[in-house]
Assembly symmetry: C2
Homo-oligomer: 477 residues x 2
């Protein structure tokens, strides 16, 4: 009975999704709360997910010519204030350092909420000629935003992320980079995290402070809510002008360069939990799971059992395999592997050994498959790839089936109140309608999608004026 | 002439070592100064070194059972103050956050100068039984110390590092982990960075604030000065007691666990520069160099030259190879490869192609070697390993030949004034002698070495009282 404790104490996701979520992050030991209000601790199981995200995404970045740098943690107030929209967007939620080395600072500095300002300051030094372009820099770091309410991975005062900041000779090249990085995010989410997304443009109300256009990848959680999973911004030459960045062009005249930025954060760990998890705990996509296969010995004190487990693990070279040799019961080990979401469990007991077999259990479907021991090295890697693609297909089916169309405001409100999912509806382009929709339904415009965007009506779903855009609306994390 | 500009503008290291150092870090584009006083920017060439250090060291950590976590950036003042020696050591040099989200904070928080206090706070939550031990956690992060004078990589207000923090059931196990991590550092420095070190214990004056013992690996720079390259601390149960961490032992009684911490920082990049660099710029050990081989086409517009370069590069699979196809002259490319310290250059021109040959140039010795093109795939990896070990051997020779013995105070002062290197001398164990030596010579005790520590005299080199320890003294960065 005690063996099941790990599992029994999770709230059912159908009963209370929010509580299910916090139960999973605690029980799977992904994070811990800290004495620092609003800041969380990434425990080994949680940080390992971020390490794998970093490794796989960084490879994709570098393949597109990205170079990593590291910028200071602090931004002097005068530097932050050079771009008006930006400072208005961020100043209310920053943390200020006012004392250092026992003295009051002459100028206070904020802990970076994002680093556009510092990159502009650097690029002003580095860029003088068209030969100095493009610059395609990125950094992996933590940023601080003084949030009032916080939730593990989804919203905390400090979070980990990457922020890319690029400078280009032409507006076209900047736009191309903005779209390219959005596609890197979408492909990464699809291929590594098994999360389908909707790509599109943010409305002006939802775009980044200081950007001319913000593109987003929006994912749908199991409860039908949206989670913005990565954004890519085109800044035009606004920041560059504000920071006085100029270069001598091919025509020997002075020009202002064009800028982009793009970021993805540890929120993504929250997305993975809420897209794939179930009532037994986490379900991790094989590509990202720190452990891909747990081998559990049955009646492990019987002669040869542990050895057979180790032998099999040894044959699965190239995979991340762990043999659970602890003195806990098999039931406890099963429950733990399920809670932690490791994609496959292999059970080997004395009877299996006699038959030259082992039992393979999929985490995502709970399916049990008996295979010949000698087939494992060929079969297990294939099965992991199958799980990866099955997880994506299931998530895609859920997303596709949870997008509704609204043709008038009553239908719109009804769908948002009674269905868990996104609603496609037409919009006139006025922020007043966005505000009213948010007030009436708590839903926000997630994006104006790049594809599947044929008009569903002629008029704005809210005010009835002629519509300009199809918008995906949803309640969001 | 203009092609040589990159190189000609470095100060000679024999003329002014400090200026040579800053010239190299700027010219090799490792870093840039920022608008944030005392903070530096890691440019791609500099950050790539840190990425390689991280990757190789992290593998070694994980092989000893280390797990990575991430702790908050901030430490509330009350938490910092729980361990008396520690707060005295760090409080004068921290930066304080006093405002957040537009409001004055109820309790100010410092930006972490190191995270012992946060780890103790976490371990208090996690550790209840001997079954919860050991905990062997590490984090890669940045820390802030409000230094008055700063130098690139060596001393800045923010720097990157890793800090390991472990908890153990017994004092013996903690001591074993302290020594084990020191050995990981020494082996890493030797095998990956080609830097020999002296392992030893710090005197009480030089040990970490709050530790019972600090062990160090001390490296010698080209100018004979010391650079502390990594430290490992045994805390005993002092912090654990101060933070109220207790566990139920195997005897069913309450015990206090034993703690260690160990860290290594971006200072190491400075060490690499100052151990291996020469008057042409950086010299990077092959294991850590972001680019290991630069292929330079000669008369690259001649038919087939670029293709031959690309073909050769393609054959060097598994190595980090770059073909320099830019439109600059070969002379410029040579100078740049030398400045950036990439271990090997391969030159291929039309005549080489006719002969089926290419010219290989070692960065460390400037030696030119003509080889058959078809031998490259076998020869180049071997040559890189040879460079790696030759670089270590040269650095070891320099270290060994620059350690002197002093038997009395006049000889001691004379050696420190007139020789560039370390001085072995006996010490009574009193801090007064350390203080006097520092006042008289600016040298400090680097460590009490673990080996090669046979007494060189009977009495303290400073006061003449009976000696307790042999100490390595040196001027330090």
């Amino acid at each position: 009975m005690a063996d099941k404790k790990l599992v029994e104490s999770i709230t059912s996701m159908d009963e209370d999704f929010a509580k299910w979520y916090t139960d999973v992050v605690k029980k799977a030991e992904l994070m811990d709360y800290s004495s620092v209000k609003g800041c969380m601790i990434f425990l080994p199981a949680g940080y390992a997910l971020w390490e794998n995200i970093q490794r796989l995404l960084d490879e994709r970045f570098k393949a597109t010519g990205v170079e990593n740098v590291y910028m200071p943690l602090f931004i002097p107030e005068s530097l932050l204030q050079k771009e008006k929209d930006h400072v208005e967007g961020f100043a209310p939620e920053v943390a200020w350092v006012t004392e250092g080395g026992g003295e009051k600072l002459e100028e206070r500095m904020c802990v970076r909420p994002t680093s556009e300002t510092l990159f502009c300051d650097l690029y002003k030094n580095l860029i003088h000629s068209y030969r100095d372009l493009p610059r395609i820099y990125n950094q992996w770091c933590s940023v601080v935003r003084w949030e009032k309410t916080t939730r593990p991975f989804l919203r905390s005062r400090e979070f980990l992320w990457q922020e890319g900041h690029t400078m280009h000779e032409t507006a076209e090249e900047a736009e191309e980079r903005t779209v390219r990085m959005l596609n890197v995010y979408a492909d990464f989410l699809k291929e590594e995290l098994a999360i389908p997304t909707i790509k599109g443009r943010k409305t002006d109300k939802e775009k980044f402070a200081g950007a001319t256009a913000t593109y987003t990848v929006e994912a749908m959680m199991h409860d039908g809510k949206a989670l913005q999973s990565g954004t890519s911004h085109n800044f035009g030459d606004g920041f560059a002008k504000a920071y006085g960045i100029e270069f001598t062009g091919r025509d020997n005249k002075l020009h202002t360069p064009f800028q982009t930025s793009w970021g993805l954060s540890t929120r993504l760990i929250g997305a993975m939990i809420m897209v794939h998890g179930d009532n037994d705990g986490l379900v991790l996509p094989p590509h990202i799971s720190p452990t891909q296969v747990v081998v559990v010995p049955i009646q492990q004190k019987k002669e040869g059992v542990i050895e057979a487990c180790r032998k099999l693990a040894g044959e699965l070279s190239g995979l991340r395999v762990k043999v659970d040799e602890s003195d806990r019961s098999p039931g406890f080990k099963f429950a733990e592997q399920e809670m932690r979401g490791f994609p496959l469990r292999i059970e080997i007991g004395p009877r299996d050994m006699e038959n030259g077999e082992c039992v393979v259990v999929r985490r995502d479907t709970h399916e049990k498959i008996t295979i010949r021991m000698e087939d494992a090295a060929g079969y297990i890697p294939e099965l992991l790839e199958k799980i990866q693609s099955d997880m994506y297909e299931r998530a895609l089916k859920h997303l596709t089936e949870s997008i509704y169309e609204a043709h008038d405001y009553d239908e719109f409100k009804d769908l948002l109140e009674n269905k868990n999912g996104f609603v496609k509806a037409m919009w006139c382009g006025d922020v007043e309608c966005e505000d009213r929709i948010k007030a009436d339904t708590t839903a926000t415009s997630r994006c104006m999608p790049f594809t599947d965007n044929e008009p569903v009506a002629e008029n704005c779903v809210c005010c009835g004026k002629p519509a300009k855009h199809l918008v995906i609306w949803g309640k969001a994390y």
